[in-house]
């Protein structure tokens, strides 16, 4: 069997026993990518020779020693492309530095290998907004992988990556993880340094993991998390051993089901999968109760004001001067800016820059931006009150299984509404993850469905423990199409 099919934990055991070498893993991954990437399209680029050379120098005695990790194409790795799925960075850009997350993974012995497709600048939930390539769901190639970390989810699901990094601003790790049948974790805001992650919405963005199992996520998070002086929003908090907490039972743990999340419009298979998951959790001794998050219906509006507002400021750095696309025939400096940006950005990015600029502009700031910041407080308080009563919150990750390619392409508002269950955790800064919880049948194909587990701020340990207990009991682990 190809090493590409194995979990990170299993590869680590075999590396430690010297049964295999890091370069063996790279070679098997390269063969898997060659075979599957033409149809799945998870990767935008990968450099086998450089990775083999690096692999031969890795220290396999380190906790992640010799394990390759595939990287979403918005996280800087020295000397590699970092396109963000955009034409504006596709021409010649090479990262001059490592993101802190990459530096920490390297310190743990891991090896960044391969660049994964994404919605342009992480704006989208389908990866269809990438300007650079089409990514498909490995379970049904006519369907989207979700997004924006669609390349990350589909690489892990198609066994062309052992584990992957993604970024999550409004669900961009959890939703594709659910749609592709893998585990996706967004840690607490501030747990993982954003230094070297190309900024989309700075108050919401967080780097996290996409893996085949809960244990694999915990192993990577052990190195990913930690304080970084280069990110002023990074939290100076001790990082527990996330993997050590797995395996403990969840007897007596209190699980909240937010009644506002079980709305009409949820796909029946998603509702069934959540109901079944709740039964499983109860059978493991957890106490399940209904809770209320009364401001849930303000989430999507709040997010689609704040995130574009922050994006419109962050993306001002693309000026065609220091890096990125530069128009060939500008008449003056203003025309240089207007044309370089118009030629470089795709439609969804332009839409969000315009929306963000509008809600921040004179006369509309109070009506939209300030109002959204106030609504964000109410959403945060909803969670604070709920977590007085429960230890974790469980919900569907996405309202439906993977859509067909192109289904939401001309309806941006409908696409935004798909983020309803994942957005609140970003607005409140809470850790949240998706684990596989079953399948929907559509047109004779099995499509994965996920449940979301939201934890208290900085309590990834309890969240991961519940996810692990569920994964072990349900047997929905390390799934392959």
């Amino acid at each position: 069997m190809s090493l590409a099919n194995e979990t990170l934990a299993s590869l680590r055991r075999r590396l430690a026993a010297r049964e295999i070498s890091p370069a063996d893993i790279i070679r098997d991954l390269a063969a898997a990518i060659e075979a599957k990437n033409p149809s799945v399209g998870a990767y935008l680029s990968w450099d086998v020779d450089a990775a083999v050379t690096e692999a031969e120098q890795t220290d396999t005695s380190l906790p992640l020693g010799g394990v390759p990790i595939a990287i979403k194409d918005n996280i800087n790795v020295t000397g590699q492309p970092c396109t963000c799925g955009s034409k504006i960075l596709a021409e010649n850009y090479r990262s001059p530095y490592d993101a802190t997350s990459i530096r920490q993974l390297r310190a743990g012995g891991a090896l960044p290998f391969g660049r994964l497709n994404m919605d342009e600048f992480a704006m989208g939930s389908s990866t269809e907004n990438s300007a650079l390539g089409v990514t498909r769901n490995p379970w049904d190639l006519d369907r989207i992988p979700g997004g924006s970390s669609g390349g990350s989810a589909s690489s892990v699901a198609s066994a062309t990556a052992i584990a992957a990094l993604g970024s999550d601003t409004g669900g961009s790790i959890r939703q594709p993880a659910a749609l592709c049948g893998v585990v996706g974790v967004k840690p607490t805001y501030g747990r993982v340094s954003r230094f070297g992650l190309v900024a989309f919405a700075s108050s919401l963005d967080q780097i996290g993991t996409l893996t085949k199992t809960v244990e694999d996520s915990a192993l990577v998070l052990n190195h990913l998390c930690g304080h970084d002086p280069l990110d002023s929003t990074s939290l100076n908090e001790p990082v527990p051993d996330f993997a050590a907490a797995l395996g403990r039972d969840i007897k007596g743990l209190r699980i909240g089901l937010p009644k506002e999340y079980f709305i009409s419009g949820i796909h029946p298979a998603v509702a069934d999968a959540v109901r079944a998951a709740i039964k499983t959790l109860e059978s493991l001794g957890a106490r399940v109760e209904e809770i209320s998050l009364p401001h849930t219906d303000a989430g999507v509006s709040t997010y689609y004001i704040l995130a574009p507002a922050e994006a419109s400021a962050n993306l001002a750095r693309f000026d065609g001067v220091r890096y990125g696309h530069r128009t060939a025939n500008a008449t003056d400096i203003l025309d240089h800016y207007f044309s370089s940006r118009a030629e470089g950005f795709g439609p969804e990015v332009k839409r969000r820059i315009l929306l963000g600029t509008y809600v921040l502009s004179s006369g509309y700031y109070d009506a939209y931006y300030l109002k959204a910041q106030r609504a964000r407080t109410l959403i945060r308080r909803d969670f604070e009150e709920a977590f007085q009563k429960v230890d974790v919150i469980v919900s569907p990750t996405a309202p439906s299984p993977a859509h067909k390619m192109g289904e939401l392409k001309n309806n941006p508002l409908q696409a935004y509404l798909e983020d309803v269950f994942t957005i609140p955790a970003n607005l409140a800064g809470l850790p949240a993850m998706s684990v596989p919880s079953g399948f929907a049948e559509e047109g004779g194909k099995k499509l994965p469905v996920g449940i979301q587990i939201i934890g208290k701020a900085l309590d990834e340990v309890t969240m991961l423990r519940v996810a692990h207990a569920f994964e072990q009991a349900s047997g929905l682990s390390h799934l392959a199409p």
Partner: protein
């Protein structure tokens, strides 16, 4: 038809984005619909609620003001689409 009339060219100008007439019409209609949806926020009494800029309470993070290693001039210019004399090159801005 949207209840919100947006001056899309004004927003585009502030954002330094050149829009074709087709793009302007499309975005104007799409943003109008999105803003209609956002009227849901009007249901809540938000006037006295403290705004949240960041979910985590981290304020006024300071560091020592001292020099530290950074890019060389060549590294900083390596991704520039146009440079000359060890500087970024831009179109002429003064007559």
């Amino acid at each position: 038809m949207s209840a919100h009339a947006i001056d899309i060219q004004k927003a585009a100008s502030l954002a330094r984005l050149k829009l074709t007439p087709d793009e302007a019409a499309l975005y104007e209609s799409q943003l109008g619909k999105i803003l209609d949806y956002m009227d849901v926020l009007a249901r809540y009494d938000l006037g006295s609620v403290e705004p949240t800029a960041h979910a985590m309470p981290v304020h006024n993070v300071m560091r020592r003001d001292e020099s530290r290693p950074s890019f060389t001039q060549d590294q900083a210019l390596a991704n520039a689409p146009k440079s000359s004399h060890h500087q970024f090159q831009i179109p002429k801005v003064v007559e």
